[in-house]
């Protein structure tokens, strides 16, 4: 994680010399293999060949002079631009640096692409390199410790079937570009595309997590189906009971309404109760007025006490709010009370 935030550039120009400098931004560190340590060649693999990488791999084995070879391959159409270097030497140097996870890229990849076709001589980390470019394809490249002699350059031109120019190219020192102009591909399905190695475990974890959740969902869905089936069965089973219950409630409601049609005690019963009470008070009914639950009586007797009358009538459970007005002029007493509605009797069996 530390190397992720603190990028470094390891410039490996000469066999046992590595320059280390910091790189801006996040990401992997870079190990720049100097051109002096690389061999470069362009391999043309015809498009008819099914497994180009396998073919190229065989050709590289034949070509490489190193006991342990590493390569950087950039495909441009059917052309494979290949740099190889001695990985054994590099591994020995790696022990001195924390660069085991660094991207290994040849120096050529950081020279900017030429604006026109032809040959150019470029200053490297160590020495110079002649490059022959054609349509943005680096067809040939040769390294020298110092600027080559005219014979060496002529030899380079001739080897590429080029006519000699009037003036040989000068050695130029090019600024390094930030990102390599060619993307490396792996010959054996690993190493080139760095995140592929994480994809399998990542998707395995995803599969496990989603699989678990999906299984849970499936399990619950099946359980819900079982419950729905059970509900359906039970609903069929209880339907007659529910119908009977519904009918009972409806009938009960109707009976209640029937009871409300005649809510008050019978008049004869009221008369009987009143007369019984008045007998104790030694009084008689002079006037009777019953209207929708309110009973107003005028009673006649000797020395009628309103308090006694109220007490006597209040004792009867069917009367409430008993009041009395004593009219002393004619010896009558006017009583007023509310007759309670008949207690509704619950039908047998209903709740």
């Amino acid at each position: 994680m530390k190397s992720f935030f603190f990028r470094q550039k390891f410039s490996h120009g000469i066999a046992d010399e590595v320059q280390v400098e910091s790189l801006a931004g996040m990401g992997r560190s870079r190990w720049i293999v100097g051109r002096s340590l690389c061999l470069y060649k362009v391999f043309f693999i015809p498009s008819g060949i099914q497994d180009k990488n396998e073919t190229l791999s065989l050709q590289l084995q034949q070509w490489s002079p190193f006991s342990k070879t590493s390569q950087y391959v950039v495909w441009q159409g059917n052309n494979a631009l290949v740099w190889i270097w001695d990985e054994g030497t590099r591994q020995e140097l790696l022990q001195q640096f924390d660069a085991s996870k660094a991207e290994v890229i040849p120096e050529d990849l950081f020279f900017p692409l030429p604006l026109e076709n032809g040959v150019r001589v470029v200053q490297c980390l160590s020495g110079v390199v002649a490059q022959y470019w054609q349509d943005d394809v680096l067809l040939d490249s040769q390294w020298w410790m110092e600027y080559p002699t005219s014979d060496e350059l002529r030899q380079f031109y001739r080897s590429n079937d080029l006519s000699l120019p009037a003036q040989l190219p000068e050695c130029v020192s090019l600024p390094s570009i930030k990102t390599p102009w060619g993307v490396a591909t792996s010959l054996h399905g690993s190493g080139g595309f760095q995140y592929e190695q994480y994809l399998l475990p990542f998707f395995c974890v995803l599969f496990l997590v989603f699989g678990y959740q999906a299984m849970t969902l499936i399990k619950w869905t099946q359980f819900e189906k079982q419950l729905v089936g059970r509900v359906t069965d039970l609903t069929k089973q209880v339907e007659p009971i529910l119908t009977a219950r519904q009918r009972t409630y409806e009938d009960k409601a109707m009976i209640t309404e029937f009871t409300k049609l005649s809510p008050y005690p019978a008049q004869l019963h009221l008369w009987a109760v009143v007369v019984r009470k008045l007998r104790g008070l030694k009084a008689t009914v002079k006037s009777w007025k019953f209207n929708n639950g309110t009973l107003e009586l005028v009673i006649e007797g000797d020395k009628l006490d309103p308090g006694d009358c109220i007490r006597v009538f209040s004792q009867e459970k069917i009367f409430t709010d008993v009041s009395a007005v004593n009219d002393r002029n004619d010896g009558n007493l006017q009583l007023k009370m509310t007759v309670l509605k008949r207690a509704m009797q619950a039908p047998v069996g209903a709740e």
């Binding site: 849970t216 619950w220 419950l227 039970l234 009971i241 009977a244 219950r245 004869l268 009777w288």
Partner: protein, 190 residues
């Protein structure tokens, strides 16, 4: 392997642009998280529905054991029918009014009530009891204790469902009574 199927520029961008890689991984993680959340939400909804169904099953099982409702229904139905038979049955509204008038008048005649007056209004339907009509009658006459009690006894001992809403006995020298009676009936028009 993937890079062989992708355009070179895209692979180059992917390889060289760390922010692009980081962004894509973040997007992938967010998408996975949202998918997981979606699955979890759906699972939770299914669990809730199962809980609901379970409660419903418990309720239904409880109801399934309540066989007593058949007995209750029969008993209540019988009681209701008994009450319905207490309604005066008439073939039309006019006949309901007329028969009520005749019946009450005959009661008064039997008791020889002087200066009697019976006024019966046309039947009106009861909103809370479909099929039941109400016939209101105002009865007036000279008051004699025994005859009024006999009338009241006849009214209350009759099978028909009725209600005495008002009864007034007033007067100084010559007492009169006024009585409001409501008779309930069904009208079976043929």
């Amino acid at each position: 392997m993937i890079q062989y199927y992708l355009p070179d520029t895209l692979v180059l961008q992917w390889k060289s642009n760390y922010r692009l890689r980081l962004g894509c991984w973040c997007v992938l993680c967010i998408v996975c998280y949202l998918l997981y959340q979606f699955l979890a939400d759906v699972t939770e909804q299914v669990q809730d529905r199962c809980q609901e169904k379970n409660t419903q099953i418990i309720r239904l099982q409880r109801v399934a054991n309540e066989d007593v409702w058949f007995v209750r229904s029969e008993e209540i139905s019988r009681t209701k029918k008994d009450l319905e038979t207490r309604l005066l049955v008439a073939e039309s509204r006019g006949l309901a009014q007329a028969s009520t008038q005749t019946w009450i008048t005959s009661l008064l005649q039997q008791q020889d009530v002087k200066h009697r007056r019976v006024k019966v209004t046309p039947p009106v339907p009861l909103s809370n009891l479909p099929g039941v009509w109400q016939v209101s009658a105002r009865v007036e006459g000279d008051f004699r204790r025994q005859s009024l009690f006999k009338i009241l006894l006849d009214l209350e001992s009759v099978k028909h469902l009725l209600s005495v809403e008002r009864l007034e006995v007033q007067g100084r020298k010559k007492q009169r009574f006024v009585m409001d009676v409501k008779v309930f009936c069904t009208i079976i028009e043929q």
